[in-house]
């Protein structure tokens, strides 16, 4: 009887066992966000699971970028912005953490590759240097390690002292990922990291994210539905500042529980 009940429940919720095992890296509850008088996010609650890729999809202006930029408090650079609710990184409320410490733990990669006008080496070393690491020997070890993690080492190892602008767009974006990885973030946020790249460069980034989730928790915004389906473990759908639905990616794309989600992913709007 007990055994039968167990079987039944696991048939209904096939992911229950997996969910119980995965730790919640980020726990967002009842998050509201305002730019001045304008409310950009309404009561968003979700959990980001450790060492998995969470994709956020939704039409332009739906608040997914705002949401992402709340997670490392980048939005606080916008004057008059304000957040309500709580976001926990493990057991720390991010709004109570020192902002620089938070950003070292939660790294970010932007839509457009934004390397500094410095050499490849100095780009990757930047985050380490500002955190006080100066020994040449330690730096070069860390730079190599980060470039390897970003799958860029083999392409640039002989030109570390060339300007970052000598690289192609896709390489520049991987350089930015390497730069973010150098400070060993626990979470990596990516805001449409491949929207400006061609399909080959895009597939390299996707492969890379797949590798990275072993050591990092990843949240990625994408406009590309196929990309979300390809790379992510979980997908969240934003619409008009609200989180409509978040679920396992397979479930989300095969069997969304909300009609808005289905309309969006089947291309009926957005």
């Amino acid at each position: 009887m007990t055994a039968a009940a167990k079987t039944k429940s696991s048939a209904v919720e096939p992911h229950a066992a997996a969910l119980a095992q995965t730790a919640q890296k980020l726990t967002v509850s009842h998050l509201n966000f305002f730019y001045g008088m304008h409310q950009a996010l309404y009561d968003v609650s979700l959990e980001v699971e450790a060492n998995r890729i969470t994709a956020l999809i939704g039409p332009s202006g739906c608040g997914k970028s705002t949401f992402l930029r709340v997670l490392n408090r980048m939005n606080e650079t916008v004057k008059g912005s304000r957040a309500e609710g709580s976001v926990f990184l493990d057991n720390d409320n991010i709004f109570d953490l020192d902002i620089t410490l938070l950003r070292r733990r939660v790294g970010m990669v932007f839509q457009k590759a934004n390397p500094f006008p410095k050499s490849i080496f100095n780009n990757v070393a930047y985050g380490l240097r500002i955190n006080g690491l100066c020994s040449r020997w330690e730096l070069s070890g860390a730079v190599e390690n980060s470039l390897r993690r970003a799958a860029l080492w083999d392409e640039v190892k002989d030109q570390l002292h060339k300007s970052a602008y000598a690289l192609s767009g896709g390489q520049q974006q991987r350089l930015c990922i390497a730069r973010a990885l150098a400070v060993n973030p626990e979470v990596l946020l990516l805001d449409e990291p491949s929207s400006a790249l061609d399909p080959i460069a895009t597939s390299k980034i996707e492969e890379l994210l797949f590798q990275l989730k072993r050591s990092c928790t990843i949240v990625v915004i994408t406009h590309n539905m196929q990309q979300a389906a390809r790379i992510s473990d979980r997908t969240g759908f934003f619409l008009l500042g609200r989180l409509v639905e978040i679920n396992e990616t397979a479930t989300m794309f095969r069997n969304p529980s909300r009609t808005e989600t289905e309309d969006y992913i089947t291309g009926r709007f957005g």
Binding site: T77, T100, R103, N114, P117, I130
Partner: protein, 279 residues
């Protein structure tokens, strides 16, 4: 038909007029250059750069002390004005979003427009009167007051040109704001900033009025900042209005040297200006 012809005629006339005005504009520069070169080049010799001025009536002598004095005054003025102007510019660009910075910006523009002789009086009251005598320091203070507003606005402008993405990248790596400015924003604008500073140096190099009653003049070597000193612009002024033919000759030479110096600084500043590396 007739009307059309008239229109064409007016158009041609106006076009010709704009051309003539353009020509007038650039020809005044070349006229000054040519005239100075014509009179100056004949008076320039090694003596001019190595000897002290001779008393009136004696032929020969040079302006070595004025050249050195000018260099020292300009150097000191830059030494005072550059850090103040630079840091105020950083404030306006990176922190200035409130009403206060609007006031600062406006005040800076006003200061930029204050007649230089008035700035000379200011330095006279501020430095000369308390010390009781003219000095290089007083001249430098006067020139630094001219230097500062130029440095402020160019710094602000060039830092504003740095893409916001660099600031975000640095902040996202956990840099505190001041560190992001010091290690990502300012280095990105470095050569542009150097250009701006050089142009400010070129601007103060030719100022005469503020020096007349601050650093004054001197017949002898005096490199102590606490002593009055000769300077090229003041020497030009003094020699040009003197009744001696040989002094007029030297004034032309000094004018040529000063202009060459300013042109040199200007041209090297333009060469330093980076090709736009960031999009």
């Amino acid at each position: 038909m007739n009307r059309l012809a008239r229109r064409k005629l007016v158009s041609a006339l106006m076009f010709g007029l704009t051309g003539i005005c353009t020509l007038l504009t650039i020809s005044s520069l070349f006229f000054i250059l040519g005239y100075l070169l014509w009179h100056g080049i004949r008076s320039i010799n090694l003596e001019f750069f190595t000897q002290l001025p001779k008393p009136p009536g004696e032929v020969g002598g040079g302006m070595a002390n004025a050249i050195a004095g000018s260099a020292e005054i300009i150097f000191l003025a830059t030494f005072i004005g550059m850090p103040v102007g630079f840091l105020a510019g950083v404030y306006l660009s990176e922190y200035g979003e409130d009403k206060f910075s609007f006031v600062v910006r406006y005040a800076t523009d006003l200061l930029n427009g204050v007649p230089s002789i008035v700035i000379g009086i200011f330095a006279y009251a501020l430095v000369v009167v308390p010390l009781g005598h003219f000095s290089i320091l007083a001249g430098s203070v006067a020139l630094s007051v001219i230097f500062i507003p130029i440095a402020v606005r160019t710094t602000e402008q060039f830092l504003q040109d740095v893409p916001h993405a660099f600031r975000e990248a640095a902040l996202a790596l956990g840099a505190p704001k001041w560190k992001a400015i010091a290690t990502a924003v300012v280095p990105a604008a470095f050569s542009a900033l150097a250009t701006g500073m050089l142009l400010a140096v070129a601007r103060i190099a030719g100022e005469t009025a503020p020096l007349l009653f601050t650093s004054f003049s001197n017949q002898f070597w005096s490199l102590s900042p606490n002593q009055p000193s000769a300077s090229l612009p003041v020497m030009i002024f003094t020699y040009a209005i003197s009744p001696y033919r040989d002094w007029h000759r030297q004034a032309w030479a000094a004018g040529l040297v000063l202009l060459a110096l300013v042109l040199f600084i200007n041209v090297s500043a333009r060469l330093l200006l980076p090709r736009r590396v960031f999009k």
